[in-house]
């Protein structure tokens, strides 16, 4: 055990020596294809997920940048890019409403299903979780590989749908029928096929994660010694496992409606364009909403829980203190996971499902806010009395707290049926969930990238550029989303092609549209230092030792950076402590690694 601990403190460069001298000759040389493309190593798959998801995030952001031009300058030709969009989408550079709807639907789909979840779970979960629990790999490496490639195919289908005749899906990321079914183009069919791939991928992934966490924990690593990050991934996997299948069912039913002429979601007597539709009818559009939100509300927690996990690790590490109330955090996150299955219809207060249903779901919604507040409070309290290191990961993690706080608190009026009547489908909703996901989850993911970059590459990202990235992003992102609350409270609807120009009640707040668009493009500009920093640091970043942050968890304390290609650890680690033994009184150093025998 001692040699593992010392390996954790080895100076930079020695890991390269460790690689060559270590007795791993039994592994035959791998070709480029088996090592980097069809790899079964959780670390390579994690990197594949991370890079693919980052590209999708950038692409989805690009779609939004285009939409923001139309919102800021309605019906004006988009400079330069407008001419590249093709006459079918933007004749003369002026965006058509159909194309605007495609951008909106695909922005949501790509950001959620192809960007944030694959990065948070597929990327961070895959790379970090097995290292944290001292496992040699995931329990099912082949499934892990399959999971990535099915995700990849799903992503390709989604992207390709833009180039199909009629373009991509245009009924919003929620794909509410009857609109989604009766739209004449085939974009929705491709969307459904893509979704079925993505759901299958996350199913394979979640089975793998749960089995790995339960079965492959290192010796001595009981459940209450797991880092909070692992708990977050564990609960997230259960949500993915149990909430996604109903959407798969819903997707199959809608696909049948689209392709086989069934009427699952089409009511009798549906009239489209003054003509009765030639269908059997008898279906129920609300059925889709129930099935969709049965997934999509747990999905919200799939987006936020891994982010909370990442932030907890970074806060504990950079305050040099144990997390405040670790057990409470664990109980809260488990409760959150359970509750997330019985709040879904708070998205449907306006469907006329009745006051009894509304009361039930607004009650459960108020209850679910309790564990969220517990988690956030515990993280805030963790800062108290700490001597905080303000490095880039910590800055992003600290920003997560108030940003998620704003996102969460603005959700309460939406969770109460009476106030939701006014706020439903306005920009207020957009502001609310973007505060949770963009400066919330995505900031946490960026924090995670800065934090674990040295683990993956052995080099640290540039701090100067990192801070520039942070400050610019923080200001701009608030510039985009805060005015949405103002617009929403004035009653400006979401999904308006012209941003509300035609509406009298929108006039007093219309000027915010340009402001928000400039902020959005500014945000894009401030990602350039990050992109440059990311690639530059891979080759030219400052080489650091195995444990540059002086962390206690196994991912840092028991492995080299980067970890061994096969099996991660030189000898199977053994755990003797809880995850956050920082500043233990009476010790020479201010951290006590989990694998250090006392």
């Amino acid at each position: 055990m001692d040699n593992v601990t010392t390996a954790g403190h080895a100076p930079a460069g020695s890991h390269a020596h460790g690689h060559t001298s270590h007795a791993h000759v039994d592994h035959h040389e791998q070709s480029f294809v088996t090592k980097w493309i069809f790899s079964q190593d959780h670390k390579v798959i994690g990197i594949q997920y991370t890079l693919t998801a980052l590209l999708f995030l950038l692409f989805g952001f690009g779609l939004m940048a285009l939409m923001r031009y139309q919102l800021a300058f309605p019906m004006q030709p988009i400079p330069v890019i407008g001419s590249l969009l093709g006459a079918a989408n933007a004749p003369g550079g002026i965006m058509l409403p159909e194309f605007y709807n495609q951008l909106g639907a695909m922005h949501g789909t790509i950001m959620v299903f192809l960007g944030v979840v694959p990065l948070a779970v597929g990327g961070f979960g895959n790379y970090v979780m097995p290292l944290m629990i001292g496992a040699p790999d995931m329990a099912f490496p082949k499934l892990n590989m399959a999971s990535y490639w099915v995700y990849f195919v799903g992503g390709c289908i989604m992207l390709a749908s833009f180039f199909m005749p009629g373009g991509a899906a245009q009924s919003g990321w929620t794909s509410y029928p009857p609109l989604s079914v009766i739209t004449a183009t085939n974009g929705q069919t491709w969307w459904l096929l893509g979704m079925i791939c993505l759901i299958t991928s996350s199913l394979l992934g979640s089975v793998n994660f749960i089995v790995t966490i339960v079965q492959l924990r290192a010796k001595g690593l009981g459940f209450f010694r797991l880092p909070f990050f692992v708990w977050a991934q564990f609960v997230t996997s259960f949500l993915l496992l149990l909430a996604f299948p109903p959407l798969e069912a819903a997707g199959v039913l809608q696909l049948m409606d689209k392709v086989a002429g069934t009427s699952f979601f089409l009511p009798s007597g549906l009239v489209v364009g003054n003509r009765p539709l030639d269908i059997s009818g008898g279906g129920n559009p609300l059925l889709w909403q129930h099935l969709f939100w049965f997934l999509a509300h747990p999905e919200v927690y799939v987006l936020i829980l891994p982010a909370m996990g990442i932030v907890s690790e970074i806060i504990a590490n950079n305050t040099r203190k144990p997390l405040w109330g670790y057990r409470v955090l664990v109980y809260a996150i488990i409760f959150l996971g359970f509750m997330s299955f019985i709040v879904w219809a708070h998205h449907m207060f306006m469907t006329g499902m009745g006051t009894t249903m509304n009361s039930f779901f607004q009650t459960t919604t108020m209850i679910i806010s309790i564990p969220s507040v517990i988690i956030l409070s515990a993280l805030f309290l963790s800062l108290y009395g700490g001597s905080i290191r303000y490095n880039t990961p910590m800055l992003f993690a600290l920003a997560f707290l108030p940003m998620f706080g704003i996102g969460g608190l603005t959700g309460l009026p939406l969770g109460l049926a009476p106030s939701d009547i006014h706020l439903h489908d306005t920009y207020y909703v957009i502001g609310h969930f973007h505060y949770v996901v963009a400066p919330g989850t995505i900031f946490a993911l960026l924090a995670g990238i800065y934090y674990w970059f040295p683990k993956v590459t052995g080099r640290q990202m540039n701090e100067m550029l990192g801070k520039l990235h942070f400050i610019g992003s923080f200001i701009c992102i608030n510039g985009i989303f805060f005015p949405m609350f103002i617009q929403g409270l004035h009653g400006v609807n979401r999904r308006l092609y012209d941003g509300g120009v035609q509406y009298a009640h929108a006039q007093p707040v219309l000027h915010w549209n340009q402001f928000m668009s400039y902020a959005a493009w500014g945000l894009m500009l401030f990602q350039l230092p990050f992109i440059f920093n990311f690639f530059w640091s891979i080759w030219k970043g400052k080489p650091v030792g195995s444990n540059p942050w002086k962390a206690t968890t196994l991912d840092w304390a028991a492995t080299t950076s980067p970890p061994l290609a096969h099996g991660n650890f030189e000898t199977a680690p053994e755990v003797f402590h809880g995850p956050y033994e920082y500043s233990v009184p009476g010790r020479a150093q201010d951290y006590l690694p989990q694998n250090q025998r006392d």
């Binding site: 496992a135 040699p136 790999d137 329990a139 099912f140 490496p141 199913l203 979640s206 089975v207 793998n208 749960i210 089995v211 339960v214 079965q215 492959l216 496992l241 149990l242 909430a243 996604f244 299948p245 109903p246 798969e248 069912a249 819903a250 199959v252 039913l253 049948m256 086989a260 002429g261 069934t262 009427s263 699952f264 009798s268 269908i279 059997s280 009818g281 008898g282 279906g283 129920n284 059925l287 129930h290 099935l291 049965f294 096969h566 099996g567 991660n568 650890f569 199977a572």
Partner: protein, 196 residues
Amino acid sequence: MEIPYTVDVRPDTGLSNGKFGVWLFLASEVMLFAALFSSYILLRVGSVEWPHGYEELSVPMAFFNTVVLITSSVTMVMAWASLKMNDFGKFRLYLGLTILLSFVFLIVKYFEYSHHLHAGEGPWHNTYYAIYFTITGLHGLHIIGGIVVNAYLWGPGAKMWQTAKERFTNRIEIAGLYWHFVDLVWIFLFPVLYLL
């Protein structure tokens, strides 16, 4: 480094990876079919008129198929038990029978489907036929999936018996768990779609 607990059981959890994994997979399958059954209930409750299954579909054929599937579940267990008793020849026989019975099920299903399609009672006909074709179709896909897995374990996959007896026996057990689940779904489908 080998991945632990692929064959033997982890002492503190009492599970091997594969068995735990397949139970989790089945949990998600339960959610999939639960969503479809819920949709069935919601559509039926909300409909003006809903045909009785026994007036529309052939109960004898479905009954025959139920017997076929239950028998195939029994032969699946016998295949696993034969391996436990170290009798590879009998294993081949019983797993082969399981695969054969799965094909019988599909063939009967084919006759049912083509009868309705010829009569113009496709999924577009009404919501009853829509849900009938969708659920039994998905169930049929699960049967095909089971055939693929079982055929692999009967043919090329059986080579593992020479090198890792216990691991191969575990694989048969896991394939069996899946097969029993597919069988169980049908046992719910039969009364819901044919008898009610």
